[in-house]
Symmetry: D3
Subunit: 64 residues, 6 copies
């Protein structure tokens, strides 16, 4: 433990590196648990698969 999961859109490898590193540092520092036991899962979602305010983000972005 702990396990951190982030639901997001498409990300670059560099962004994923930073997220894994910083989430792990924060979790280990706050809980006092070793970084080695912290797992981070980054879930990249297509914008067709995420709704905000009842609208798919892909549809919403077309209007902008």
């Amino acid at each position: 433990m702990p396990v951190i999961t982030m639901e997001a859109a498409k990300l670059t490898k560099e962004q994923k590196r930073t997220l894994a590193k910083e989430f792990t540092e924060t979790a280990a520092r706050v809980t006092g648990l070793p970084e080695a036991g912290v797992y981070v899962f980054i879930k990249e979602n297509e914008l067709d698969n995420v709704g905000v305010g009842g609208q798919l983000i892909s549809d919403r972005n077309k209007e902008v």
Copy 2:
């Protein structure tokens, strides 16, 4: 809040639109919270990746 996640098989964009819209309406009406804050994540799973009754759905469908 709230956040709604649906695990399903492959869906069309139109199906995902309807799910996002209707889940959001239901959640906002029932909780009294604004639609704008409701997130919906639709997770499309390959039938090789879902088991029902101990059998992969892809295997089960071959028998039908």
Copy 3:
């Protein structure tokens, strides 16, 4: 399949009834799958356990 999970705050039993019923109807109608196979999990979170905009909702509500 499908499985629907909603992350929310505390809800009444009546609210949970309505959510389970309506989410199931929507999912079955949109996917064409039988209602009997639709599972709904309602996750009630303490407001100390949910952050929005970097702030716990319990702290945010105190300011309102």
Copy 4:
């Protein structure tokens, strides 16, 4: 990795021991990864919080 999560109703400690042990053995054997890295989360849900076929399990059980 891997991480296994089971959504269930209330369970005894003995049931949870067995689930954690056997899920870990299966996951390690099948993936070839060490048991030490396998996490199992058992999520106990109130029957008011789970819907099957559009009905809360607590309501459904009253009819049986």
Copy 5:
């Protein structure tokens, strides 16, 4: 119910068959619930999307 989700790396179809079968058997035996109602979701993650100890597994594997 119950619903079991496993977060893992890429797996073969045979591995997924075994996981679905054995997780279902264990869950049904321990809970006393019918196998037919047990759902298993296997989530295959890219090694760029999983962090252990603050490092992406894909980066970690390059060092080995």
Copy 6:
């Protein structure tokens, strides 16, 4: 979006404040998305409900 979920053991309110704040800052900075749209869910698990290496953490801690 994004939504961050952390599975952990029991935490103090101060720990949860820090986690919500720092996870949100990291996610907003890395993705370029506004903090206001970042949700954080902190899931506190009983040590009877988490297995590591096939053993419940509550059992493992008794041996230490």
